[in-house]
């Protein structure tokens, strides 16, 4: 009985202690708007203080260094870090990572979030290790790069070598102009997950590569004994930054500089008809706002994604709260049906629509900002924009779009993607052999090569139909082993919202009148999007750009055609109306006149 009571008391005390948990120093701002100075010691993963003259030197750990004052556990559940958490609502679609393999003819949008249209890396045999080393440079640490539940046993040793990539606080909060996000990308590609954050700051340099280290690599080894060309990850700190106590001054900020966001969230648009420069003229930024003023978050790091219902959405700022002095739009001459059926971004965001969609280059997909950047206008992966489609609210909104290109097996009328490693092993050598042109687009292909590729894969999957899907084209071998192409809607392309750069009113769709959209040649209803055709001897076919808008094209054209004679119509209706008005006024005054006479007569 005594023991039971003691146990109960212990449990109660523990719970009470938990509820009385004191917030960490950095979790609750005291109201002072100035940025606090961070004159602190750097700690490694073992919570040991880092002194620049020690050997060996380990990278600092953000969890151990920042964690004592900022609740790392809470922060690491933030939006940028929780992609792989299946309990988190995926919400509105967002930019995917795109697995690209030119020689294996693979272009697949990936995400751990369950957005419709993306593929889950695990379903394609992509391990967390490979995902992280390929895309981790554009993820601010944590999440997939540190989620041990995603790490396969097969790669356990490699994770011990590379370490986990902790939440990289510096990716956003480092205000130093010398913060090098491109270096972070490079380090992640080398599987220096543990070192990447350190390397990206101006505090240290990291050379070497965990990728080249053997499975039993130890942090305290030094060089790989018999592989002199393979240098292990080695940190060298800038000793000048350390004082005698081992403290450094970190240049940090609450208000994230736009450059930090830009590195991962940049885009530029190319078009066959004309090259466009990246649009750097977001009206909000020109007005002096920072990205984080709209895309806010609190300690929980649940960043505002600009959804309509959020506090900092277009509607809430411009129509309701007037935050940041947001002007209230008059939309003079714009019938309100547009505001019901069309999102703000349709008219105000992204590049002006042209007759053919732009090829968009994004940070995530084209590794912009790094030495790996895909620079050619038609460089893979092919992302098109703007592509207008219905959003979750049923409004037409602009999107980026990527067609998947993948190899699959047809099973019961559905497609099962073939694991990428298997495809790479079989297909890449076949296609690489003949790929001699230095292009970042698809390699030159012909029927014969595709036939051989399909046939080779078919031998691995006997009795099953192997297909290559590219855009709406489904390539396969018929019973006579001839290459056949069929049109298909499966899988659908992946679309995600395009919201930047925001154009001011004078550059919005409709600024030049209704015929910006409502005309028979206006791009809005009549533009074309490119089909993903990988055969070089077939010109890339174009598809109607409105296929995702769920409108009746005939009706739209009919309505647009009314604008041909609309000016004349206005003249006619005004004229006739004035006639009617004149008649009414005439008889009205006649009536008034009679009444006045009657009144006069009565008085008399």
């Amino acid at each position: 009985m005594k023991f039971f009571l003691l146990l109960l008391t212990g449990v109660y005390l523990l719970q009470a202690a938990d509820s009385l948990q004191v917030p960490l120093l950095g979790d609750q701002p005291d109201g002072n708007r100035a940025t606090p100075i961070h004159h602190i010691k750097l700690l490694d993963q073992d919570s040991s203080v880092i002194y620049p003259d020690e050997h060996p030197l380990l990278p600092f750990s953000t969890q151990k260094t920042c964690g004592p004052c900022h609740n790392y556990a809470v922060i690491s559940r933030g939006w940028h870090f929780n992609a792989a958490d299946s309990a988190v609502d995926a919400g509105r679609q967002g930019p995917p990572f795109i697995w690209l393999n030119r020689h294996a003819l693979i272009q697949i949008p990936l995400s751990y979030r369950s957005w419709p249209g993306v593929f889950n890396p695990q379903d394609l045999g992509i391990t967390a290790l490979h995902f992280t080393s390929r895309f981790g440079g554009y993820m601010p640490g944590g999440g997939v790069a540190a989620d041990t539940s995603l790490q396969t046993l097969k790669n356990y040793w490699r994770w011990q070598v590379s370490g986990q990539a902790e939440v990289n606080c510096f990716a956003c909060h480092d205000a130093s102009p010398l913060y090098d996000a491109a270096e972070y990308v490079d380090q992640m590609k080398r599987q220096n997950f543990r070192w990447a954050a350190t390397a990206s700051t101006d505090l240290a340099r990291v050379e070497g590569s965990a990728r080249n280290m053997p499975d039993n690599f130890d942090l305290y080894w030094g060089v790989a004994p018999d592989e002199p060309r393979k240098q292990p990850p080695t940190v060298t700190y800038d000793a000048r930054r350390f004082d005698k106590k081992g403290q450094v001054d970190l240049v940090l900020t609450r208000k994230i500089p736009n450059d930090r966001c830009y590195f991962c969230h940049s885009q530029k648009f190319e078009n066959n008809q004309r090259q466009t420069e990246a649009l750097y003229d977001d009206v909000h930024l020109k007005a002096g706002l920072h990205c984080v003023e709209c895309h806010q978050n609190k300690l929980d790091h649940q960043i505002d994604r600009g959804l309509a219902e959020n506090e900092n959405s277009c509607e809430n700022c411009h129509l309701n709260s007037g935050r940041f002095g947001a002007p209230k739009p008059q939309h003079k001459g714009l019938p309100p049906v547009h505001l019901e059926k069309v999102a703000c971004t349709t008219c105000h965001s992204g590049p002006q629509p042209l007759n053919t969609s732009y090829l968009a280059h994004t940070s995530l997909a084209h590794e912009l900002g790094t030495k790996y950047a895909h620079r050619e206008a038609t460089a893979l992966p092919h992302i098109q924009a703007p592509v207008f489609a219905r959003n979750a609210q049923g409004k037409i909104a602009p999107n980026y779009m990527a067609w998947p290109v993948l190899w699959a097996i047809v099973r019961n009328d559905s497609l099962s993607p073939i694991p990428l490693e298997q495809v790479d092993e079989v297909i890449s050598p076949l296609i690489a052999r003949g790929d001699s042109l230095p292009t970042e687009d698809w390699p030159l292909l012909n029927d014969s090569l595709l036939t051989t590729s399909l046939d080779t894969l078919a031998q691995i999957f006997p009795q099953q139909q192997v297909v290559l899907v590219a855009g709406t084209n489904r390539f396969f071998l018929n019973s006579q082993k001839q290459l056949t192409v069929q049109q298909t809607d499966v899988p659908e392309p992946y679309l995600w919202p395009l919201a930047h750069d925001v154009r001011p009113a004078a550059q919005a769709l409709g600024a030049n009148g209704c015929t910006d959209c409502h005309s028979l040649s206006a791009p809005f209803f009549n533009s074309k999007i490119r089909n993903e055709t990988i055969l070089s001897d077939v010109q890339a076919s174009l598809l109607p750009g409105n296929r995702f808008m769920k409108i009746n094209q005939a009706t739209a054209n009919l309505f647009s055609s009314t604008f041909l004679f609309r000016p004349l119509l206005k003249i006619v209706v005004v004229l006739f109306y004035l006639l009617l008005l004149a008649v009414f006024v005439l008889y009205f005054f006649k009536g008034i006149n009679y009444l006045i006479n009657q009144l006069n007569q009565q008085q008399d």
């Binding site: 739009p329 001459g333 049906v337 009746n552 009706t555 008005l581 008649v583 009679y594 009657q598």
Partner: protein, 201 residues
């Protein structure tokens, strides 16, 4: 709100039809119209009046149906092909209506007798079909001016989106009221079972 209003108008129409179902028949309507035509003075004006009235009435019904049915059935305002139809028919209605007004306005002007009847109160006015006809005409005319005017104003970039929304709202409600008046007058026509008596100076 507008959907409820349309529903009310529909109910009123149904009730009126029910009340007048014995008197009401298409044959009778046709006969009445023919009688009215015969009673009318012959001439170009008569032709114009007849032609423009027919077109106005037809277009009015089509416009009404295209405007109210989507609201009634779906709760949303018209869109798509129906909107295009409505937009295409409206100018023609305006033109036909204008001609009808021009052809009819003189005979619909209030005369001394009408003023005398006005002085005697609503009961007398109600019982006097020609005066009631004129009242219907002028109220229809006035409301049309308001309703059409609202839409014409929305064609120009003079108002903000919310302003245009208000104008469209005015148009819808005024047109609904017009429709109601037309329905009431239509069925009254049968209930009274009277010929149109044209009284003009």
């Amino acid at each position: 709100m507008f959907r409820i209003s349309v529903l009310i108008v529909l109910l009123v129409t149904i009730v009126l039809y029910w009340k007048n179902r014995k008197q009401h028949s298409l044959n009778q309507l046709k006969n009445q119209l023919l009688q009215n035509l015969k009673a009318d003075r012959p001439g170009f004006l008569k032709q114009l009046r007849m032609f423009s009235f027919a077109w106005s009435a037809l277009l009015f019904v089509l416009l009404g149906l295209s405007g109210f049915l989507p609201e009634l059935l779906t709760g949303h305002h018209m869109s798509g092909f129906i909107l295009v139809l409505h937009v295409l028919l409206a100018p023609f209605f305006l033109i036909a209506f204008t001609f009808w007004i021009f052809a009819s306005v003189k005979r619909q002007a209030f005369i001394e007798k009408d003023w005398q009847i006005f002085k005697q109160g609503w009961t007398t006015i109600r019982s006097h079909q020609p005066t009631m006809d004129k009242l219907f005409f002028w109220s229809f005319f006035l409301l049309s001016l308001i309703g059409i005017g609202a839409i014409i104003l929305s064609l120009f970039p003079l108002f903000s989106s919310s302003g245009i929304g208000n104008l469209i709202g005015i148009h819808r409600y005024v047109m609904l009221l017009l429709f109601l008046i037309a329905v009431v007058f239509y069925f009254r026509y049968f209930s009274l079972n009277q010929k149109i008596k044209i009284e003009e100076k």
